[in-house]
Symmetry: C2
Subunit: 168 residues, 2 copies
DNA sequence: CCTATCATGTAATCCGTTACATGATTAT
DNA sequence: ATAATCATGTAACGGATTACATGATAGG
């Protein structure tokens, strides 16, 4: 049992395991790409290493299948739930950063019109994707994902407005 | 002379050196925190290691003071300008990610009201800071930083609207 | 004079990314 | 059958973060 630092990646894995129950790394990958991956990308390799890290800290437990591929099955432990609850409970006042590569280029003198014309289709596509997800969402989806999706939608709308002003 | 991968950090250093001319790591730190650092944070250690990396690739040149502290002085080279221009010239269509820690918590079930009440003051403070910078901006500031600042302002406004809906 | 804080730098760690690899399934 | 894609994993690398450290300057 070892002390580890918990990163956003850790909480994503814990949160998904809480939601889904027992799960393989590949299962986690599927979950990510259909949910939180829309605004917080993880690489598939992290879904192998992170549960292992969490296992060392006792926050998840690991089993292996007997036959066949002997895949790893992970499950959140009570201690893991506790850590997740604590994290959820601390209402953070810290802000993320924009970190838009396009804004960086703009800042350092790239041509605004050209940038805008490259950014607009991408933002519009992302917006369409979000709206499709929202429209296909079953009623029973909890508030969290629903609200996060709304945040994504309004963010894309704002970005589109911004770049539209700069497009020639 | 060595091949290195250029990251956003690299372009920030190159861009600042282009703007400021010869500069020490500490000078870069000052520049960052009064400009691009508003939406793209760097740790001060990176401003020591990154110019060194760029030196290996011939994109910046390094001199050392003779007397006193023998501080390092960096300057962008023609090859560095070239790399910077090329980067600025490619109008990227790739999107950054939101990566707001608060959104992540929201997604995984944190209490929206509590989160909103923690996020609102922070976003309002950031907005006020941006507006103060804009209002104090001399006329001669180039369009890039000015537009990036506008993006930051509209982003903060939108975030405030979003969280206001969730605050009880 | 003493102690904060600013200025300046190095070193270690660690997480995230990239690259490499191969076994299963499905489609043609 | 064979190619393509899905599923599953490991290993190496490198950049970002954190921690450590010390010299200068200013304030009390």
């Amino acid at each position: 049992m070892q002390e580890i630092r918990l990163t956003p990646t850790s909480y994503i894995v814990l949160g998904l395991l809480e939601f889904a129950g027992e799960c393989t790394p590949y299962g986690l990958k599927q979950l990510v790409s259909s949910s939180v991956g829309n605004f917080w990308t993880l690489h598939h390799a992290q879904l192998y290493t992170e549960p292992e890290r969490l296992t060392k800290a006792g926050l998840v437990s690991e089993k292996r299948e007997r036959g066949g591929r002997r895949r790893r099955l992970y499950e959140i432990t009570p201690k893991g739930r506790e850590a997740l609850d604590e994290w959820r409970g601390e209402a953070t006042g810290s802000l993320g950063e924009l970190r838009e590569p396009a804004l960086l280029k703009l800042f350092f003198g790239a041509d605004p019109g050209a940038l805008a014309r490259a950014q607009l289709p991408a933002h519009r596509a992302k917006l369409a994707e979000y709206e499709a997800i929202r429209d296909g969402m079953p009623e029973l989806v909890p508030d969290g994902p629903r609200l996060a999706l709304e945040a994504g939608i309004s963010h894309e709308r704002r970005s589109i407005e911004f770049w539209e002003e700069l497009a020639g």
